[in-house]
Symmetry: C2
DNA sequence: TCGACGACCTAACCTAGATAAAAGCGGCCC
DNA sequence: GGGCCGCTTTTATCTAGGTTAGGTCGTCGA
């Protein structure tokens, strides 16, 4: 596979944080066959109903997962960033039940789903690491159900900004609660189940209260503790910390 | 393990619908060590923050997964029925990020998490089957994000009733869109992100429109097609159909 | 037989957030 | 330099669903 994109290394580190990997497993992951694709902002990686033949690993840029209701409303279900797999979900399930679209320009490694499956089946250590990775995705989905189902608009937006901040930092893409939000207010609205008008009001208010400041798309969380409180944010669900699974 | 509870067999069938299992894998699953527990309605199986040592397989009865917000509101995240694992999620992740409580009297097989992990690591076929099982849970979470984020009250309730109907039938617990709903209107409300008062309004309205009829907790969906439409329900996300993964 | 309790139901009123419509405001392309 | 387009911001108005409060009904236990 010639010289590997450096983000592969980050992906392996990400998996390793939760699940031990032997040197050979590490090599196997780094050696996954793939071809590189450059995608413009707004391009689709997977569409609802596709029978996916590839599993995309994001090498740079951002993407989001969404569904459209019968009424035509969009709900964004998760946001993904470099070193994350999009559609490990769909690599194992025959047909995609949702769409994934890029937020920014994206470089992605398209890995044949066969290769992922064979690796997971042939190497239980890797199988387990990938499994845990999807379990953490599921944990984030659960938190989003709560966010959208039971928090008011202020908390919803604050919660999303907090989640983003921590995930960006964990990915090495931000520091000091300061980052570039790669989405429009309309996309933000579709992520928290509000309208863009109302998201705008909330952002303004959070600014006036000194909780955040922003300039164009860049966000600074000025008062992390208060923001955490306003957003009812507890990072435990991200499972960023340590060992997820004890070795059996 | 003496004589196995018959629901173990159903659990194996459930897994087999999506992922092939050899006879020996089947035997290994049936032979999982466990002890039986009988739980009263309203008992906790796992609490948010617990370090779980067991993974519960529901043998009879119903349970639900939920989180409580800082404001004290409850969001129900999923409902589980016989032959389903609750907390396969938590068996692999160190600490539970949510609670699971019984809706009815429940018999559960408490399987030591070590045993599940060893089996998944030692037998990739089983590892894959369990992985896929959790991926389907995740797919349901995604649909719930949409339900709660972007559908109006009528559609939300209808959607939940449709999902329940199909899942009950798939589990052999119902027929002809007729079933016993094992939850109060308040729990229903917490599942769809509404108040119980409003759920009551909506149920009444669905009844008046001839979409459902009910008597105490028992529900009959009188007009499945219309109900499906009202609830914007597309069962694909349940992945009930066939092969989820092609054998590698 | 009488509470006590839990679930269900209803009605009157209120508000958070939706909707609609338009004005600013950069870019960017020609 | 001018026009267009996508995004943000704002204002005014409306409504779906929340809140509060109370009533009904069935069950269970004393």
């Amino acid at each position: 596979m010639r010289d590997q994109h450096p983000t592969f290394e980050k992906m392996v580190q990400r998996l390793e944080r939760r699940s031990p990997l032997s040197p050979s497993s590490r090599q196997a992951l780094l050696g996954l066959p793939h071809n590189l694709r450059k995608l413009a902002a707004g391009a689709h990686i997977v569409r609802d109903g596709d029978c996916t033949e590839h599993c995309a690993l994001l090498l740079s840029g951002f993407a989001y997962r969404y569904k459209i209701t019968g009424e035509g409303a969009r709900q964004i279900i998760s946001i993904h960033m470099a070193a994350e797999f999009v559609d490990l979900q769909n690599a194992m399930l025959q047909m995609s039940d949702h769409s994934v679209q890029t937020l920014t320009e994206v470089e992605a490694a398209m890995i044949p789903r066969q290769a992922v499956q064979e690796l997971a089946l042939g190497n239980p250590e890797i199988g387990q690491a990938l499994w845990i990775d999807t379990l953490i995705d599921a944990s984030i989905f659960r938190e989003w159900v709560v966010n959208v189902g039971r928090r008011d608009s202020r908390a919803r937006v604050a919660h999303l900004l907090c989640e983003f901040s921590l995930r960006m930092e964990a990915a090495g893409l931000a520091r000091d609660h300061r980052y570039e939000l790669p989405m429009t207010q309309e996309q933000l609205a579709d992520a928290v189940g509000l309208t863009s008008v109302h998201v705008n009001r909330v952002l303004k208010q959070l600014g006036e209260e000194g909780l955040i400041s922003r300039d164009k798309r860049s966000i600074v969380i000025e008062d992390w503790d208060r923001m955490r409180h306003v957003g009812d944010f507890n990072e435990r669900y991200l499972h960023h910390d340590g060992q997820a699974a004890r070795a059996a």
